[in-house]
């Protein structure tokens, strides 16, 4: 029997911009993107109301305080007001992007909302029945919280159902900053039935039951790295202290990446047809949502030389977008990456006696010859240390691994430029 029904969301990042786009999106796409985080949040509120949830739990990073977006905070409060009007309580903690000392628009939160402070607090879900379910939560007082907040939880009063609301990096999850680090063990030791976590943008159930430890992920993908369905968990807390978890997608535009092997296509038209087909499949699988796609062309084939020509990838993307961007829902290809290789047998050619073989051997030598690598880097500091551009490129200086990939790419470019001699 259901004791409690709530929706667990996190990392709304309301009104924070989309990353990874290099070209300006068409108007329809741009409008959708501007409103995407808000729409996803509205979908969460609708989900609470539609499912007659008892509460909404938001585990931090609601907005990016550094952005000082009034719109984000206002829209967040409006959603909470809708919940309050529908008799649904809301519990909010703040994370590294919206710490308590960050800028805030001083908006009045509705009475049905409980915001956790810098110390662990406990708040009943049902005011008229305080012992039925309790939420224990804590917010970041400032951005760089590097201590284990779980250790500050201490003993909590036992309740039939206890929820921990926290923005934290469990077990040093890679790809995310190590804020409020803690271990899964810490969480399992605490006397909770459900840990409602935030911070990691890809949904994960770290521990299924007793207690459940869950990252719902962000409700709206905001970069080509945040692909696939995004949303929140609808949680039914049962009398036995366990939960039923149900993921609900709430994203309003979906990011997808797909790769096409050029080896299967002999002509440019055949490749284009394949790309169109893939775009159609993406749209079909997005549940009526618009899709933003990044395409990666891979493999070896005759088309490698065609793809190596200036502006070819842009023209290809334009042709795809002409067919898909004006539709409803739209599909927009924001970039096509060329990871293809020429058809020639590198192993055989590298053993040759011509100039192309020398180029290939030089590229190979670069792996083991640091002096050669330095010579290949000649000129690069002129860009990365340029007084005007270094602030924009400080994080873009390639490390050794990236440099090796760049050498491979440069080798392919050189081979294509010497194509007629090389074939």
């Amino acid at each position: 029997m259901t004791r409690l029904r709530f929706v667990h969301a996190a990392d709304l990042h309301l009104d924070s911009p989309f990353k990874g786009l290099r070209v300006a999106a068409p108007e329809q796409v741009a409008d959708t993107l501007y409103n995407a985080t808000f729409k996803a949040y509205e979908n969460i509120v609708d989900l609470c109301i539609g499912e007659r949830a008892d509460a909404l739990l938001v585990a931090g990073d609601i907005y990016d305080g550094a952005d000082r977006s009034l719109r984000a905070q206002r829209r967040f409060v409006e959603g909470l007001e809708r919940l309050h009007a529908a008799g649904i309580r809301s519990f909010v903690c703040h994370g590294n992007h919206d710490p308590l000392d960050g800028w805030e628009a001083r908006l009045a939160y509705p009475p049905g909302c409980h915001r956790f402070g810098a110390e662990f607090e406990s708040a009943p879900v049902f005011r008229d029945d305080p012992g039925r379910a309790v939420v224990h939560g804590v917010s970041y007082p400032h951005r760089d919280v590097t201590e284990n907040l779980v250790s500050r939880l201490g003993r909590v009063d036992t309740a039939p159902f206890s929820i921990g609301l926290l923005h934290a990096n469990v077990d040093n999850h890679p790809g995310h900053d190590p804020y409020a680090p803690c271990s899964l063990h810490d969480l399992l030791e605490a006397d909770m039935n459900y840990w409602a976590l935030g911070h990691v943008h890809t949904r994960q159930v770290l521990h299924k039951q007793g207690p459940s430890v869950v990252y719902p992920g962000n409700p709206q993908g905001r970069s080509p790295n945040e692909t696939g369905a995004r949303g929140a968990y609808l949680v039914n807390a049962l009398d036995d202290g366990n939960v039923d978890l149900e993921f609900r997608a709430v994203d309003c535009v979906r990011w997808e990446r797909f790769a096409v092997d050029i080896g299967a296509h002999e002509t440019e038209q055949a490749l284009l047809d394949a790309l169109h087909k893939s775009m159609e499949e993406l749209l079909d699988g997005a549940g009526g949502r618009p899709v933003i796609a990044r395409i990666s062309l891979e493999g070896r084939g005759e088309l490698n030389r065609f793809l190596g020509r200036a502006d070819t990838l842009d023209h290809l993307a334009e042709q795809i977008n002409e067919a898909w961007t004006d539709r409803t829902p739209f599909a927009w290809c924001e970039r096509i990456e060329n990871r293809t290789a020429p058809t020639f047998d590198r192993g055989a050619r590298v053993a040759g006696s011509d100039f192309l073989a020398e180029v290939l051997r030089t590229a190979d030598r670069a792996r083991s010859d640091p002096e050669l690598r330095e010579r290949l880097r000649a000129g690069m500091p002129g860009l990365y240390e340029h007084h005007r551009f270094r602030r924009y490129l400080s994080g873009a200086v390639p490390n050794e691994e990236e440099f090796a990939a760049l050498v491979r790419e440069a080798e392919m470019m050189a081979v294509n430029l010497l194509a007629e001699d090389g074939e």
Partner: protein, 1048 residues
């Protein structure tokens, strides 16, 4: 391949020049300026590779000293074959012949093999060159040469283009110091976006200020609302009191006073006065209607008893109705009659005119009896056809006759002209056979004349050759070598003579074959005699064959002369030559023309006479036919006239005009039928009128209505009066019957009205009793008092009701009335005014704060809703992505560029072509190590050298001497490289070392000596010092000294 010897027949200043054998590795031709060193170099090039064609601007080196333009070179191939190449100037490079050492001719196709399949350009640029050619750039422009020098085939031909493209693309993305590249553009846009974001961030501060002020305003508005409500409550109370005082309270007091002053009339019929007035009205109406009913009874009684005149007419109602119905038809007949009479008269006149038109003897009877049957019409038609056919045949035959006569006159005229022309023409002098024989003789004469002229020229040529043999002295030292060339030359001439004969054809072919054979015999003789009697003195070997040819040519000449004489005799002329043949041919042509013209005129006259005879026959036949047809026409006309007479018709009628007569008769008959019909119609109208008058007459006399029996047309008026009288009588009878009926009804109504009157008076009496009134006047007075009291009571109730509303429900009315009882109006008005003023002040403040709140909320809404910052942040991320993307693209290109340059450096260092490496050795040797390397940057078409300091230079940066040494070294490298794969051709240089200093000259000579171990070297120079260098170099190298051949 090596050159063993030269023999120049004629070339520039050289004629009959011979040198050789050249047996040493190096041969130096030494001679002063203009001794002919360059001429010899050109001779070798041209004999081996061909003469330039006539359009070439090159020096043709004509045989200034005589001799045939050309000569021969004897070569020894690398395989040891000895071949003599002979070439003379001519088209396609000039004819060339090859002979083995045995004298056996070799096919021409062997020559390219012997020359290593090198082209003329390669030979000239690499193997046999002058000082000028040493350092011109033709060497490097030749594809076959530069492919040996540069890295072609090494997969680097696109390297420069690749590096250029990478450089261009890099500049587009990022260029240090530039401000047009993509990264700069994106960074500039980023700066602008950052500035926009900074501006938008101020919105946050503004939002905080506005929020605080909004909170204050909201608090003030809440407080103000409390004051407003309190004020309104008090104001409402005071206004209620004041309203009550002004309205219901005062009214209530006044009503009570008035009620007290009126008598009490409480029991009174409801609506008494109006009911009284109703009953009075009802009584008056009942009385008036009673009186009216009485008058109606009297009136109907009178009208029911009145008698009606001519009442009997109603018995003839059916007759009157018939008169009425027939009236319209009668009136139409009376109106129509005069018109119909006029129509009869008009038709009678029309018929009379038609009869008059037909003829005086025509009347209605003849008209009716005229035969218009189908048989008669067919007869007329038959006559008409017959007459027309006869006429048309006659016209046709006459026209035909006229045409035949005209044609006859024309052919007679032609015949006359032909006779005249034949008489005027001259008769031919010669018959056809004679003309043909003469023509054959003339053709034979022309042919033989040509043969004689050819034989004459041959005799003269051969005589000239014999003369020249007699006067030529051949130096003994040249005979041995010259014999071979003579054999070949005469053999070649022999072939040419045969070919010439074949081309000329006819008689020239046997002559050509004979001459050719003779020359072949001579060459064979020369060859054999050369082998068998080398070194002996003899008559020039060509004399005997030429003499034989001369004898044969003279015999042919005599034969031709003999035939010509026979022809002249047959033609009757003394001698045959071009002129006499021409004159005789013209005469023969004139005779042929005369004969042809006479024959043509004679044939014309015969044809004209035959045509005239035929014309006369045709004209006679046409004339006979005209006569026959004319008789047939006259018979037809006669037959027609008899037909007319038989029917009493005028003879002037033709079948066509009879149809017109028939038409008029049909018209007359139609008019006659129409007249008869109109007469019948007039009579029928008259009958109708008389019948109607007869119907009127009995009624008119019975009821005294006037009618003129002699004028039936006036019966209509009488009938009208009778119908009118009948109507009047009928109306009077109806009126009387209605009055009788209404009299009964009036009597019943009188009784009803009498009852109504009594009922009304009874009701009136009862009403007065209920109002306690003596009469109507008294009733009205009591009713007025009762009305006033009721009105005052209503006012009192209304006042109390309004007071109740003002006070509210329950006991509050009493409280209100007590309060009113204590209050006064002035105090109330003053309090209301004070509270109203306070209310206005509160409203004004409220308005002010509400406006501010609206403005604040609007401002906050705008700040919250602004999308600018979202867009700017999105744009910032996009631009950052763009910058890093551009940077990445730039880096990839930079690495690619560095990769290519790195590979190029290694490739250039380790894998220069063999030619360059060979050249490098020579160049290093020639310059004593001053220059260490010769190389070509990868993918380029340039030669660079690197000196001992390591600095690279291009050829144009070198001194002239060093540049010439470089190009000499390059040629050495090429010569060695080419020699590894094909025939090793001799290296021939013309003054190539003149700009070398003694040291480098000696070193160059040493290089030549080294090269000469593989390739023969021929050096042309005028400088003794250069000869010394070679001698010294040979000594140092311990090889044979060079062979020196002086040239005068």
């Amino acid at each position: 391949m090596k050159i063993r010897g030269l023999r120049i027949d004629g070339f520039g200043k050289f004629a009959d020049f011979e040198c050789g054998p050249l047996e040493r590795p190096v041969t130096i031709f030494q001679g002063a300026n203009e001794a002919g060193k360059s001429t010899l170099l050109a001779f070798i090039r041209r004999v081996l590779f061909g003469f330039p064609d006539g359009r070439s601007r090159r020096n043709p080196y004509p045989p200034l000293a005589g001799g045939r333009h050309g000569g021969s070179i004897t070569i020894v191939s690398d395989a040891g074959e000895i071949v003599t190449v002979h070439r003379v100037q001519g088209t396609g490079g000039g004819p060339v012949t090859l002979n083995a050492a045995s004298g056996e001719p070799l096919p021409q196709a062997e020559l390219p093999r012997l020359l290593g399949h090198h082209s003329r350009d390669i030979f000239q640029n690499v193997f046999a060159f002058t000082l000028d050619e040493l350092h011109n750039d033709a060497l490097l422009k030749d594809d076959r040469i530069n492919s040996q020098i540069y890295s072609a085939g090494m997969g680097a031909s696109k390297l420069p283009a690749a590096l250029k493209r990478l450089s261009e693309e890099k500049s587009r993305l990022f260029l240090k110091g530039g401000n047009k590249h993509a990264i700069h553009e994106a960074a500039r846009a980023l700066t602008s976006v950052d500035s926009g974001i900074a501006e938008v961030r101020n919105n946050a501060q503004q939002y905080g200020d506005l929020s605080a002020r909004l909170d204050e305003v909201k608090t003030e508005l809440t407080q103000l609302d409390g004051r407003r409500k309190e004020n309104q409550s008090r104001l409402d109370r005071q206004e209620r009191l004041k309203s009550a005082w002004d309205g219901p309270w005062n009214e209530l007091n006044m009503v009570e006073q008035e009620l007290a002053g009126l008598p009490v009339v409480d029991d009174f019929p409801t609506d008494g006065v109006s009911r009284l007035e109703g009953l009075e009205e009802r009584r008056r109406n009942a009385r008036r209607e009673f009186q009216s009913a009485e008058r109606d009874v009297a009136d109907f009684k009178v009208r029911a008893g009145t008698p009606v005149e001519h009442e009997a007419i109603l018995d003839g109602t059916a007759d009157v109705r018939r008169l009425e119905q027939g009236r319209t038809s009668f009136d139409n007949s009376v109106r129509d009659l005069p018109k119909r009479r006029n129509q009869v008269e008009e038709q009678r006149n029309t018929l009379a005119a038609t009869l008059k038109d037909l003829g005086a003897d025509w009347d209605e009877t003849r008209l009716r009896n005229f035969d218009m049957s189908l048989a008669v019409r067919e007869e007329i038609s038959r006559h008409q056809k017959k007459l027309r056919g006869a006429r048309e045949s006659l016209v046709l035959c006459e026209s035909n006759l006229e045409q035949e006569e005209t044609a006859l006159a024309r052919s007679s005229e032609v015949e006359t002209r032909a006779e005249q022309a034949l008489k005027a023409a001259a008769k031919p002098g010669l018959g056809e056979k004679h003309l043909k024989q003469r023509g054959t003789l003339l053709t034979e004469g022309q042919l033989r004349l040509g043969q004689r002229d050819f034989a004459l020229r041959r005799v003269a040529d051969l005589q000239d050759q014999l003369d020249s043999f007699a006067s030529t002295t051949i130096p003994a030292s040249r005979r041995k070598n010259g014999r071979t060339f003579a054999v070949l030359g005469i053999g070649t001439v022999g072939i040419a003579v045969v070919a010439g004969g074949a081309v000329l054809g006819g008689g020239a072919l046997p002559v050509g074959i004979a001459a050719g054979l003779a020359l072949a015999v001579i060459s064979a003789y020369l060859f054999l005699s050369g082998r068998s009697s080398a070194g002996t003195v003899a008559e020039p070997p060509l004399t005997a064959p030429v003499r034989n040819s001369l004898r044969k040519a003279e015999i042919e000449l005599e034969e031709a002369e003999s035939v010509l004489k026979r022809c002249a005799a047959s033609l009757g002329i003394e001698t045959i030559d071009e002129k006499s043949l021409m004159a005789d041919s013209e005469d023969l042509e004139d005779e042929r023309n005369k004969a042809q013209k006479y024959q043509r005129l004679s044939a014309d006259l015969d044809r004209a006479r035959a045509v005239t005879r035929q014309g006369k026959d045709l004209a006679d036949r046409a004339r006979e036919k005209v006569e026959r047809v004319r008789k047939e026409s006259e018979a037809a006309q006669k037959e027609w006239l008899e037909w007319l007479r038989a029917r009493g018709l005028r003879e002037t009628f033709a079948p066509e005009t009879i149809a017109e007569l028939r038409g008029k008769v049909e018209l007359g008959l139609s008019q006659l039928r129409e007249l008869k019909e109109r007469r019948h119609r007039v009579q029928a109208i008259k009958d109708d009128i008389n019948a109607y008058a007869a119907m009127v007459e009995p009624l008119a006399s019975a009821f005294d209505v006037a009618l003129d029996v002699n004028e039936p047309c006036s019966a209509g008026v009488t009938a009208g009066k009778l119908v009118e009288l009948h109507g009047q009588v009928q109306q009077q009878i109806s009126g009387r019957e209605a009055a009788e009926s209404q009299l009964a009804k009036a009597r019943r109504k009188l009784k009803e009205r009498e009852s109504d009157l009594r009922s009304a008076e009874e009701d009136m009496k009862n009403l007065l009793l209920r109002g306690h009134a003596a009469d109507a006047e008294d009733f009205r007075k009591r009713a007025e008092v009762h009305r006033q009291r009721a009105g005052l009571k209503d006012k009192r109730s209304a006042a109390l009701e309004r007071l109740q509303r003002l006070s509210g429900p329950g006991k509050r009315l009493e409280s209100l009335m007590q309060e009113l009882g204590k209050a006064d109006i002035e105090t109330l008005a003053s309090e209301v005014n004070r509270l109203e003023e306070e209310r206005d002040r509160i409203a004004e403040k409220n308005q002010e704060l509400s406006t501010e709140r609206g403005s604040l909320e609007e401002g906050l809404k705008r700040l919250v809703g602004e999308k600018e910052s979202s867009k700017l942040r999105a744009e910032r991320y996009r631009l950052l992505e763009q910058v890093s993307g551009h940077a990445r693209e730039w880096v990839v290109r930079t690495i690619a560029e560095n990769l290519l340059k790195e590979a190029r450096g290694k490739f250039e260092k380790e894998r220069q072509p063999d030619v360059l490496r060979n050249s490098q050795e020579y160049f290093r040797g020639m310059t004593g190590g001053r220059y260490q390397a010769v190389f070509s940057p990868l993918g380029s078409s340039e030669i660079h050298v690197r000196d001992s300091d390591g600095s690279a230079k291009q050829p144009d940066q070198l001194s002239r001497g060093a540049r010439e040494q470089l190009f000499l070294a390059l040629r050495f490298g090429l010569v060695r490289e080419l020699g590894q794969r094909s025939e090793r051709l001799p290296l021939i240089v013309d003054e190539a070392l003149v700009n070398f200093d003694p040291d480098r000259g000696l070193k160059a000579a040493q290089a030549f000596m080294e090269l000469a171990e593989q390739n023969q070297v021929l050096v042309f120079t005028c400088h003794p010092q250069i000869v010394d260098w070679f001698v010294k170099a040979a000594a140092e190298r311990g090889v044979q000294p060079p062979q020196t051949i002086p040239i005068d």
